[in-house]
Amino acid sequence: MTDHHSDIDSVSGKSTTGHEWDGIKELNTPLPRWWVITFYLTIVWAIGYWVVYPAWPLIASNTTGMFGYSSRADVAVELANLEKIRGGKMVALGAASLADIEKDPALLALARAKGKTVFGDNCAPCHGTGGAGAKGYPNLNDDDWLWGGTLDQIMQTIQFGARSGHAKTHEGQMLAFGKDGVLKGDEIVTVANYVRSLSGLSTRTGFDAAKGEKIFAENCVACHGDGGKGNQEMGAPNLTDKIWLYGSDEATLIETIGQGRAGVMPAWEGRLDPATIKAMAVYVHSLGGGK
C-alpha cells in the first residue's frame, strides 16, 4: 500500500486512502469530529448502562445493576396498582348476591366485562370465544343446560366442574352400553333410532319402535327420565329437544350409546377467586340462555 499521506488527488487536492479500483482512487475523508466524539460517548454510555442496569449473563443468573431494576418487578407494581384501582369494585361484586348483580346495571356491566375477559382466558379453548361451543363442548348461548341454567347452577358448575375430581363435582356419565356388553349391536341401533324418534327425527326403515321403547325403558329411563326429558341432577340431557351435544345422526348416537360419553369440565374453585367466578357465572348467564 502506498503511503496515503503522500498520495494527493490532483483534482480535489485531497489525500487518498491509496485504494484504487479501475483507476479510481478513494479520497481519504475523515469522519467529522462530532461524529467520532458521539461514537465514543455512546461507548461510555454503554459502560454506564452495564453498571446501572442488568446487563451481563452469568452462569446461573445475570448482573443485577446498581438499583436492582427488573422489568418483572415493574409489572408486579403495575398489577398491584391496577388491583388497587379496581379493588373497591371487585369487593362490591364479591359481596353482592348473583341476583343483585344482574339487577344493578353498574355491577352487571362490571361482571360482564370481567367475565368476558376471564372467559376468554380460561373457557374459550373449549367453549369458543363467544361461548358457541363445539362437539362435546356445550354451547353456552342456548337455553339447553346439562346441569341447570340458573345463576346458582351455572356458578356451581363453574366452581366444582363436571367429573372434575373435585369433592363437590357433578357426577354421572353416559355409560358405554356396547363396550360394557349391556346391549348388543342391533339393540343399540334400535334404541338409537328410538332416541331420534323422540325429537321427531327420521328413523331407519324396518325400525321396531316397540322394541326400541322397551330397551329405552330398561336402560335409559333411569337417567334420561320417562320420555327422555333428561335430568339435570345427573347431567342427563333432554333427548326430545333440538340441541345435541355430540350430534343427532344415527352413527353418532350409536357411538354415544356404544362407547359412552364423559366429557370433563374442570373445577375453577381455587384457580379463580370467588368474585371472578361470580362474574363469570353472571357473564355466562347473560349470554342469553340463562334461566
Binding site: 346495571p105 348461548n141 333440538k242 347473560s286
Partner: protein, 487 residues
C-alpha cells in the same frame, strides 16, 4: 454560459457556506395607521388567548362551566353552547377547510394579512420587540449596545436580565394559558400556584414557555423565512390583482436626496419621491428592503408604509409611496391611466363561495344533528343460536348515545322476522316485550339485546332488522339496522 466549472467550486468545505449567516434585525419603532391596527389586533388576539379560558358558561350541574374546554379525559369538546363528541371530529375538518380557504381569500385580497397581523409568530415577536425596545432603547441604541466591546457595566447587565425575565414571564403566561384550555381554568390556576396540579400541566407549560421564548425572542423572522411553508405556498396562490405591500417605483424612482430633488424639480425635471432615507428598511421586522420588489421574506406587516408616510409628510410629498398595490396599477400609472382595483373576481368569489358552502353545511348539520343515537353490532361468535324448541336467537350489542344535558328514558322496538321477541339482558324485569332503558345525560349505554324468531318463522337466510329507539318523554327517535341470521 458554457464556462468550465472548476471542481473546487463544487465542494462545500472550501467553497461558500451552506446557509446564509444570521443577520440580527433591529427594527425601529414607528407610528402610524398600520402600527395602530397592529396594536389593536395584537390586543384582541392576546386578550382572547389569555382570557378565554376564564369565560364561564352555565351548562347545568355536573357539566363543566368553562365556555371553551377541551376535556380529554372525558373526550368532550365544549365551545359555548356546542358540545362535540370524538366521533364528531369532522366539524374540525370542516373548520380547517374554512380556515385554509379563508387564508387563501385573505391572500388573494390583501396579500399576507395573516402573516403580517394575525399569525402567533408575528404577534408574539411583536410583543417581545416591544419589551426589548422599552428596556434597551430603539434601533440605534440596541445596535450600539450589541456592538460595544466594552466590559459590561451593572446597568447593561440589569437591562439584559430584566429583558429576559419579562420575556420568560410572557412566555410562561403563554404556556400557562394553553393548559387552561384543557382543564377547569380557575381550579387549575389554584392547583398550579399551590403545586397541586398534575405533572403533565407543568411539563406542557415548560414546553410552551421554551418554544415561545425561543421562537419570539431568538428565532423571530427566521421562523417565517426558513421554517414556515406558507411563504412558499403563498407565492403560488397570489395573482396579478392581489394587493400586496408594494413600493410604487413608478413614483419613487429615481431616488435622490431631498435637496437635490428640490433643485431638479425647480429645473422642471422628473424626479422620484424616494429620498433613500432607509426608514422602510429600519422599521422592517424581517430586515429587508421593500424597494427590491415582492420578496419571500416580506410578511407584509405594513410598518414600512407607516415609516414612509411619516417621511413623505415631513418632506411635503404625498403619502403612500409604499402602499397596498400591485404591478398592474404601477404599469397603468406609468402609462398615464387610472389605477383599477378588482377585489371581486373569479378567485375571490370562488374562495368566498367555498367558505359559505362549507360553513353553511357545518352550521346546518350542527343545528340539525340528533342528540340521541343508536349503534348496533351483531354478535360474531356465535352469529345465531338454536334453542331447544328449534327457534333461532340472535344477539346484538346495542350502544345508545345520549348527547343531551338530561337523562332520557328510551323504549326499544325491533322490526324484523315475524313474531320476533326481544329481550334486553338486565332490563327485563320492568317491561319484558318493550324494554325501557334510562340513559344518563351526556353518556352512552351499552346493552345486550336478544332477538328470537319462533321455530315456525325461522328465516332460512339473513333478513334485515330495524331497531327503533325512542325517547318516550320527548318523542325523539333514532334507528339502526342490522341483520337477523339463521345458523
Amino acid at each position: 454560459m458554457n464556462k468550465t466549472v472548476n471542481p473546487k467550486d463544487l465542494t462545500s468545505d472550501d467553497g461558500g457556506p451552506l446557509y446564509a449567516p444570521h443577520k440580527k434585525v433591529y427594527p425601529q419603532s414607528v407610528s402610524g395607521t398600520f402600527r395602530r391596527i397592529k396594536w389593536g389586533l395584537m390586543a384582541i388576539c392576546l386578550g382572547v388567548y389569555y382570557f378565554l379560558p376564564f369565560v364561564r358558561w352555565n351548562r347545568g350541574l355536573g357539566a363543566p362551566s368553562q365556555a371553551v374546554l377541551i376535556d380529554l379525559p372525558n373526550s368532550r369538546f365544549y365551545f359555548f353552547f356546542i358540545e362535540l363528541w370524538p366521533q364528531e371530529v369532522y366539524y374540525f375538518t370542516g373548520l380547517l377547510i374554512v380556515a385554509a380557504v379563508a387564508l387563501f381569500l385573505m391572500n388573494s385580497v390583501g396579500g399576507r394579512i395573516w402573516c403580517g397581523y394575525l399569525c402567533p409568530q408575528t404577534v408574539w415577536t411583536d410583543v417581545f420587540y416591544a419589551v426589548e425596545r422599552l428596556i434597551e432603547g430603539d434601533r440605534r441604541e440596541r445596535m450600539k449596545k450589541d456592538k460595544s466591546s466594552d466590559p459590561m457595566k451593572l446597568e447593561r447587565i440589569s437591562e439584559i436580565v430584566l429583558k429576559h425575565s419579562i420575556w420568560l414571564m410572557i412566555a410562561w403566561w403563554t404556556g400557562g394559558a394553553w393548559v387552561l384550555y384543557f382543564n377547569d381554568a380557575p381550579t387549575l390556576v389554584k392547583e398550579l400556584v399551590t403545586f397541586q396540579a398534575p405533572m403533565i400541566a407543568y411539563i406542557w407549560i415548560g414546553i410552551l414557555t421554551a418554544t415561545t421564548y425561543l421562537l419570539a425572542g431568538y428565532m423571530r423572522e427566521q421562523v417565517c423565512t426558513y421554517m414556515c411553508p406558507w411563504p412558499r405556498i403563498q407565492a403560488a396562490l397570489t395573482d396579478e390583482w392581489a394587493l400586496n405591500v408594494t413600493y410604487r417605483y413608478d413614483r419613487g424612482e429615481k431616488r435622490t436626496s431631498v435637496k437635490k430633488a428640490a433643485e431638479l424639480r425647480a429645473l422642471g425635471e422628473q424626479v422620484g419621491d424616494c429620498v433613500d432615507c432607509y426608514q422602510c428598511v429600519a422599521v422592517c421586522p424581517t430586515g429587508i428592503d421593500i424597494r427590491n420588489g415582492p420578496q419571500m421574506e416580506c410578511i407584509q406587516c405594513g410598518l414600512c408604509i407607516d415609516a414612509c408616510d411619516n417621511v413623505m409628510t415631513k418632506i411635503g410629498r404625498p403619502k403612500r409611496l409604499i402602499g397596498y398595490d400591485n404591478d398592474i396599477n404601477i404599469h397603468r400609472r406609468q402609462e398615464g391611466k387610472a389605477p383599477i382595483y378588482r377585489i371581486v373576481r373569479a378567485r375571490t368569489v370562488v374562495y368566498s363561495a367555498i367558505i359559505v358552502a362549507v360553513g353553511g353545511f357545518m352550521v346546518y348539520t350542527l343545528a340539525t344533528r340528533s342528540l340521541l343515537d343508536v349503534n348496533v353490532l351483531h354478535d360474531r361468535n356465535p352469529v345465531a343460536v338454536k334453542l331447544s324448541d328449534g327457534s333461532i336467537r340472535n344477539a346484538y350489542t346495542v350502544r345508545l348515545l345520549n348527547k343531551s344535558g338530561y337523562d332520557r328514558v328510551i323504549a326499544i322496538d325491533a322490526e324484523g322476522p315475524v313474531n320476533l321477541t326481544m329481550h334486553v339482558v338486565g332490563a327485563d324485569s320492568v317491561t319484558p316485550d318493550r324494554p325501557m332503558i334510562v340513559i344518563p345525560r351526556d353518556a352512552t349505554s351499552e346493552l345486550r339485546l336478544l332477538v328470537t324468531a319462533p321455530a315456525e318463522n325461522n328465516p332460512d337466510k339473513s333478513i334485515p332488522v330495524r331497531f327503533h329507539v325512542m325517547d318516550i318523554g320527548l318523542g325523539v327517535a333514532a334507528t339502526a339496522t342490522d341483520n337477523f341470521v339463521a345458523p
